[in-house]
């Protein structure tokens, strides 16, 4: 029942995204027909293209026809050169998601490292590093890493698709830059949480029972500290998408960000709508996954959900 309720909620959210993107791109006083044909085309040709794009029909009618197409997963063809929007967005989304996935892996590795070091009390270096990572603007660190990797990193040719595992190696430097901010935030959170939980009653009890510091850490403290960390992770995801756009520009990765910017500049409305909707779909799926994860990690939430 609860699952059904949440699913309806997310579906309505997605529909809201569809409506929003439609309004944004159709109700706006701009002229994609002109952008497509360039400055030299005559007015009559632009007008006939406008008609063929369906831009002269009343808005509600445009929306209903658009909605039916979207529900069939047909996002139309790009204004610019008639490529299928779905195929393009799908390809580019794969690349961006791969990038985000790799940076998440890096983040988790780093957090794992932090946790291990907590057990050994070499925390102070970590604290300092986190401070610096958090303060580095993405542009700055991205710039430095891009320059360094251009000179020293051998895998500088991204073939544009993820056909071989070696392509993933190319994504390592940008993923690293992307991971810097979340790494810092998450490890700081988990460190704070571990510190908090360390002083609570049940930890004292466990230690009194004879468990070693490390066992206490892994078995008890971690589970409690994980929750705020997961919450923070869920919050970081949208921000991650935004940072990805900047990083894609710096490292010239053909992902969703580059597609978004070039479609914006070319007023490629079908592509833009496709990007917004599919991107929104992915983000919503991520939210749903996290919502499913919470009860598993913290049984307390499951019971409170049931009420």
């Amino acid at each position: 029942m609860h699952v059904l309720q949440r699913s309806i909620y997310y579906l309505s959210l997605w529909l809201g995204i569809v409506l929003f993107s439609f309004i944004l791109f159709h109700a706006v006083p701009t002229d994609p027909a002109r952008a497509v044909l360039g400055p030299n085309a005559g007015e009559e040709q632009v007008q006939s293209l406008r008609i063929r794009m369906g831009l002269d029909q009343p808005l509600p009618k445009q929306f209903t026809s658009y909605l039916t197409e979207v529900l069939q997963f047909n996002f139309g063809t790009s204004f610019v050169d008639n490529r299928s929007v779905q195929v393009e967005v799908g390809q580019k989304l794969k690349v961006t998601l791969a990038l985000i996935a790799i940076s998440l892996v890096m983040t988790l590795l780093y957090v794992g490292m932090t946790i291990t070091f907590e057990a050994f009390n070499i925390a102070i270096i970590g604290r300092l590093l986190d401070f610096i990572w958090v303060s580095l603007p993405t542009m700055f660190s991205g710039l430095l890493i891009a320059l360094l990797s251009a000179h020293y990193y051998p895998f500088t040719q991204f073939s544009g698709s993820l056909s071989r595992w070696t392509d993933l190696l190319f994504l390592l430097p940008p993923a690293f830059v992307l991971a810097l901010y979340p790494m810092a935030i998450l490890s700081r959170i988990i460190r704070d949480e571990i510190a908090k939980v360390r002083h609570s009653q049940f930890v004292l009890a466990a230690r009194a029972n004879g468990l070693s510091k490390r066992d206490v850490l892994y078995q008890h403290i971690l589970r409690n500290a994980m929750i705020p960390m997961l919450a923070a992770l869920a919050n970081q995801i949208p921000m991650l998408f935004t940072s990805t756009f900047i990083i894609e520009i710096m490292f010239s990765i053909p992902g969703i960000g580059s597609l978004l910017i070039s479609s914006l500049l070319q007023r490629d409305f079908p592509m833009l709508e496709g990007i917004v909707i599919l991107n929104g779909l992915v983000v919503i799926l991520v939210y749903m996954v996290f919502e499913l994860l919470y009860p598993i990690i913290d049984p307390r939430i499951k019971s409170s959900n049931a009420e």
């Binding site: 400055p39 030299n40 005559g42 914006l264 500049l265």
Partner: protein, 569 residues
């Protein structure tokens, strides 16, 4: 182990020639125990290195790698409109005509042509021109001959509303405008006379008609391209023309063209077997790749000028040592346009025109890689000599005088700039020069398409703009930019002068090109009395390429003739 990987990697991309070496490797099964595996690799390693080494050798002598700045558009001749794609697409596609070394009309797919009244043009197409082999042809040889039928279908498609460049033809060819608007189902002025003769009839006489056709912009392509079966992949996975190179593969970051073995021009058979276009968006990284040797040629964007050139415009020693340079021009024009309906004060415009120091911009911003111009028709186009004295264009005294005669009262004048072609920097320099004169300019930066939109709507008093002309003579340029019938597009300045309209119409009767050039110069001088725009310069481009190759020639349209490049061994 890394050799094995390299081979397995290359297997995906290489042609069958290399299959022999790699076949052996793929069949190694993992169920053999590891010891055998290691021993096998150890024994095969020399063989593998030998294979890979010869492969590399072969590749080095027969491939040429070009670094480009952005993904190319879809390789569909009807929709391509960005000049930056042409370095690639003009290897695959060809048009009826081209330009020779002096910038005069040369035959390409059309061997001969004649006209009696400049209104009806008969083209004799070459026989024995075959399209590049491709699966879109349903026969056993995967190709067929180009005939006048193809010319007809191509030109008809170009007149259609699907073509982004139909504006080139809609006012010239009879029936083109009707077909474009959907009022007819064929173009009246296009006719097939016989298998190799093609005729075009114009609305009005145009001695300069051929100068509209000297690029591969209107490329002859097979009509199978537009059939339902191939429409989806046309320009993406397939692109078939008649040019010296054909498309082998295209991804968003690498495009590979291979030599067209059946290329019709026996005097221009490509020596390089493979052209690889690699997309490297970041300018610095592209230069780094050039230095590393992983790419062989790049066009130098002017943000890299400070890195590569000395202050006086000559190439720095360390680059001269390792690379050759080729400077080429195209018929382009960089300007600051006025909207004559809102900027009505001619004295103010003249003041601004005299107050602009173009020399300074060209020398400092572009390191001398541009020619100062007073008008829009590019100097040298068909031998054209502009009527302006370049060193008399900047005259602060005259500027101040004109400003006093004007009714300017110190208000802010808005100027739109965008992110392309140095528009913002030129705008900033112009703003500072106008400040010295006493004119207050406010800059507003928007993206290129927004500026175009505003310019067409008439919403911008001043705008920075540049044009890359595909014509090879002055008349079409004047026709498009300055006749009153062409407002607001492409007569963006909304210029209207009955005398000039008539003079441009009279050009249709001048058959001799020297006489026509002289007339055009007179017309330009007349136009500039009113200063519809401040024309700044004609840009020159710089390419840097490896000393391992020679013979590179780039014609005035910016057509890179890679078929003439040979590797130096």
């Amino acid at each position: 182990m890394s050799n094995l990987l390299k081979i397995l990697q290359k297997t995906n991309r290489q042609q069958s020639v290399e299959a022999d070496c790699s076949q052996n490797l793929i069949h190694i099964k993992t169920k053999y125990n590891s010891l055998f595996f290691i021993v096998a690799i150890a024994l095969l390693a020399p063989l593998l290195t030998a294979c890979s080494d010869t492969k590399k050798e072969n590749q080095e002598t027969s491939q040429f790698v070009i670094g480009i700045a952005a993904e190319p558009e879809r390789l569909d001749p009807l929709t391509m409109k960005n000049p930056k794609t042409f370095i690639l697409s003009w290897q695959i596609y060809e048009g009826l005509l081209g330009l020779d070394d002096e910038g005069l009309i040369a035959p390409r797919l059309a061997e001969k042509w004649e006209t009696e009244d400049f209104k009806t043009w008969t083209f004799h197409l070459r026989e024995n021109v075959y399209f590049q082999s491709s699966e879109i042809f349903d026969n056993s040889e995967n190709t067929r001959k180009m005939t006048a039928e193809d010319a007809l279908s191509t030109y008809t498609d170009y007149c259609s509303a699907d073509a982004y460049s139909s504006f080139l033809l809609t006012d010239s060819i009879k029936g083109c405008a009707d077909y474009n608007a959907g009022k007819a189902d064929s173009v009246e002025g296009l006719q097939v006379i016989d298998e190799h003769t093609f005729q075009i009839t114009l609305l009005k006489p145009e001695p300069f008609f051929l100068n509209r056709l000297t690029t591969a912009w209107i490329a002859i392509f097979p009509k199978e391209a537009r059939s339902a079966a191939h429409k989806e992949s046309w320009g993406l996975q397939t692109a078939v023309g008649t040019g010296p190179y054909r498309l082998e593969s295209k991804t968003d970051s690498e495009i590979i063209l291979v030599r067209n073995e059946k290329y019709w021009d026996k005097s221009r058979q490509p020596a390089i077997g493979k052209l690889i276009f690699r997309v490297i968006k970041n300018n610095q990284i592209r230069l780094a790749e050039l230095n590393k040797g992983t790419i062989d040629l790049m066009v130098v964007p002017n943000t890299l000028f400070p890195t590569i050139l000395n202050q006086d415009g000559s190439v720095k020693e360390e680059y001269k040592k390792d690379f050759q340079t080729e400077v080429y021009t195209t018929y382009n024009s960089n300007m600051i346009g006025f909207n004559l309906t809102s900027m009505t004060d001619v004295h103010l415009r003249r003041a601004m025109n005299y107050g602009t120091n173009r020399e300074l911009i060209v020398k400092k911003l572009l390191f001398g890689h541009a020619d100062v111009t007073g008008g829009t028709v590019p100097p040298g186009i068909r031998g054209y000599v502009p009527p302006f004295k370049e060193d008399a264009l900047f005259d602060p005294v005259l500027a101040k005088k004109e400003l006093q005669n004007s009714k300017y009262d110190g208000e802010e004048i808005e100027m739109l700039v965008h992110e392309v072609a140095n528009s913002e920097q030129v705008g900033e320099i112009f703003q500072s020069q106008m400040k010295d004169l006493g004119v207050n300019i406010k800059l507003t930066k928007m993206d290129y398409n927004s500026v175009i939109g505003r310019m067409i709507k008439g919403d911008a008093p001043m705008f920075g703009m540049f044009f890359d002309y595909v014509f090879s003579s002055p008349e079409p340029i004047l026709l498009n930019l300055f006749t009153s019938a062409k407002r607001p597009v492409p007569n963006f300045m909304q210029y209207s002068n009955v005398k000039v309209d008539k003079a441009i119409e009279d050009l249709r009767r001048i058959g001799d090109s020297t006489e026509a050039n002289k007339q055009c110069a007179a017309i330009e001088a007349e136009i500039m009395e009113e200063v519809p725009a401040i024309f700044l310069y004609r840009e020159k481009y710089l390419t840097l390429y490896s000393k391992k190759f020679s013979g590179l020639s780039i014609n005035q349209h910016g057509h890179f003739q890679f078929e003439l490049v040979k590797s130096v061994q």
